[in-house]
Symmetry: C2
Subunit: 237 residues, 2 copies
């Protein structure tokens, strides 16, 4: 019998904040008494389904996000780099689905296919997701072509035959539907962007958006959070 609380993390590799949230949750699953479920989904479907707009249409907000991503990248040790051009397309113009570099539908179908085939764990889906993020958000490389997906899977440690099977599978109706369903699940939980974390507490889902609510999340699932430590100079007051 297990007392582990189930936590789902919904993400899309096109989203840099998703990468931050994903990595932090992958770390905390070794610290908290939780069972983490990776839920690859499609951000384009979320934005459309929720009627949301890209966050960077307000110039001050866009500039803040650039700064916030740089600081978070350094703090959490997630190597985010500004890609050569898709940034403005994604956050400012809201045209990221039209931008060839930012069409994540194939990539998320591929991740879904890897997940569908993986037995006894989620190491492959975790690693493949990470390698896709690394391609787009660190190395400024394509994530839309089959060769790109294969390269990410190879770096993630999948065998040639595993990669071949996943490449056969990812355009099937079964996988398309699976990704659609995951995206719909996220919308049903109230998603309006990614990452979204859903903590299941006594059968009740508690949703957290973004990569900056870990303290509240700890409180919600009954884990200890120590937070700030008294500074000796301040304590003298």
């Amino acid at each position: 019998m297990t007392s582990k609380k189930v936590i789902e993390v919904f993400y899309d590799v096109v989203s840099p904040y998703s990468w931050l949230g994903f990595e932090v949750m992958c770390r905390y699953r070794h610290v908290w008494n939780i069972e983490l479920k990776l839920r690859p989904a499609f951000l384009g479907g979320i934005m459309q389904g929720a009627g949301n707009k890209p966050p960077g249409l307000v110039p001050n907000k866009f500039m803040y996000m650039m700064k916030d991503l740089t600081r978070s990248s350094e703090y959490f040790g997630v190597p985010l780099q500004k890609p050569s051009d898709p940034f403005e397309a994604m956050f400012q113009k809201g045209t990221y689905e039209q931008h060839p570099r930012l069409r994540s539908l194939s990539a998320m179908r591929f991740v879904t296919a890897v997940q569908e085939r993986e037995k006894g764990g989620d190491k492959q889906v975790e690693q493949v997701s990470r390698e896709l993020w690394r391609r787009i958000w660190t190395e400024d490389k394509d994530i839309t072509e089959p060769a790109s997906l294969a390269e990410a899977a190879m770096k993630a440690g999948l065998s040639d035959s595993d990669i071949e099977e996943a490449l056969k599978l990812y355009t099937s109706k079964e996988i398309k539907d699976k990704l659609k369903n995951a995206t719909q699940d996220a919308l049903n939980h109230g998603a309006f962007g990614f990452p979204m974390v859903v903590c299941h507490i006594n059968g009740k889902p508690e949703m957290f958006f973004g990569s900056d609510r870990f303290e509240l999340m700890a409180h919600c699932i009954g884990e200890k959070w120590l937070g700030p430590q008294p500074n000796k100079s301040a304590a003298k007051l």
Copy 2:
């Protein structure tokens, strides 16, 4: 000689997230080696100056904010209650400046007048701000009439003569200009909403938006942050 880092917190009592950020910063100033500067400013001017829209126009986002405010209120021990009607006006319709209950310009001028008159500290401005938040966000009361401002100041412990002087002062050009300048300072730092915290690190300002970046802030100012504590059940894995 002091090594204290100067941290400014820009806020408006009309904003519930400002209340959360304000209270947490007021607590951390006793934990961190910082000098906290309270910067009452006008959110209406920020939204207009930055060209920002209210955050709750997307229905899923609005519902999430309600949930997030409830959870944060409980976790941080800040008694936010949903007011009888201004909530939708503020977050969904974006008409909060037209809503009689949400016109915070007088309140923020009054806070500015209290700050202008206060010598040797900021206890009064802190308490008056808190009592104004309590009126609107806990007790569902008016914050626009002079009598309401006087009542908040009385509860904050100001003397009758202090209140009388502040009520004479808050409609003066001097105070109007001071509030305008504080709002412009916030815009110059890149504000697009409140609360906004500016940490001055070696003469360089580092801006943080919202009430959910304390962990990054600690890192930025060189304070320790302990974060999550290993759970024994998880550690067994």
